[in-house]
Subunit: 188 residues, 2 copies
């Protein structure tokens, strides 16, 4: 098996995380981050618009979720399509190999109001993008927004549980379980 070689964006994110933990978010510059990653400032700005953005990985997550929703079988319900999106996130983002990184990243975000704001904005945009992708499947507006919002909540709950669970638990399975619990509430 080939050694896992992180790409530039991931190397910059990991370097940023180390530096934020070592000297604090405020006292870390973009140049510090690029240097620690063994890259130049220009490379940093090719990937991220500013320092805050380094922990939010560009638009890759959006693309992943939207593609999963778009390619779900025609007969899949809105929540089933959303479930597929969360499973795709489990396969690409919330993997066992990235688990420690994800947990450290969440801890840094939780400790910093500026990062919390950026995360809240990102979450809102991803939710809106999922609703739009459901709309392209012919789902009516309010129903699409409800499904996307429940998907976003299932993702948050799954992330909390996955971070606390044994390291070999599958994020996709935990997310499916959270959505099943939500459906049970809705059925009442």
């Amino acid at each position: 098996m080939a050694r896992w070689e992180p790409n530039a964006a991931e190397r910059l994110a990991r370097a940023a995380l180390d530096l934020f933990a070592e000297r604090g978010y405020e006292d870390t510059t973009v140049i510090d981050i690029a240097q620690r990653a063994g890259l130049g400032k220009t490379t940093f700005f090719r990937h991220f618009q500013d320092k805050r953005e380094v922990l939010f990985g560009g638009t890759e997550t959006d693309d992943l979720l939207i593609t999963a929703i778009a390619t779900a079988p025609a007969e899949a319900s809105p929540l089933d399509a959303v479930s597929r999106a969360l499973e795709a996130a489990g396969q690409a983002i919330f993997t066992p190999a990235r688990r420690e990184f994800v947990i450290r990243r969440q801890a840094v975000i939780s400790a910093n109001p500026e990062l919390q704001e950026r995360e809240a904005l990102k979450d809102g945009r991803i939710t809106a993008a999922m609703a739009e992708a459901l709309g392209h499947r012919g789902v009516a507006e309010v129903e699409a927004r409800v499904a996307a919002q429940l998907g976003a909540l299932a993702s948050r709950i799954a992330l909390e549980r996955w971070s606390q669970a044994d390291s070999d638990e599958d994020f996709g399975a935990i997310a499916r379980q959270a959505l099943t619990e939500m459906r049970a509430i809705r059925a009442r």
Copy 2:
């Protein structure tokens, strides 16, 4: 009927809104805002921690929603309690007298990424506070989070519709209607 006399926080918010529209958010300082409102910088910081915060009115909205949830009848379902919270918001915040202000405020926020971030963070915190208030009513965690999230979405949809509707339409009634549509989807 007594003339409606805005308080210091509201005067500061209105002055900020005028200035953001006139010269842009970036080129407006806290001192500019306080001066325009006929108040001092100290008064500004007694009400708001920074310039961004001036459009987000402290914790009054949170208190209003949480009180409405806490005082809903014991037999009210989680969504009924949330519906009461939105009606309370309609009576205190999204009133006919404040409609123009609310619409201008949303336009300024939509045009500014920093304000969008703060709004996203506030929305997330209010949603979490509503879920917590439902928890105090004995609602289980996942169900409380689902109801709060659906309430937040109903509030956003209602705000969009209320902003576009005739000026005498009641926000609370529009929010109730949005929640009814959501229940109909859930019942399917």
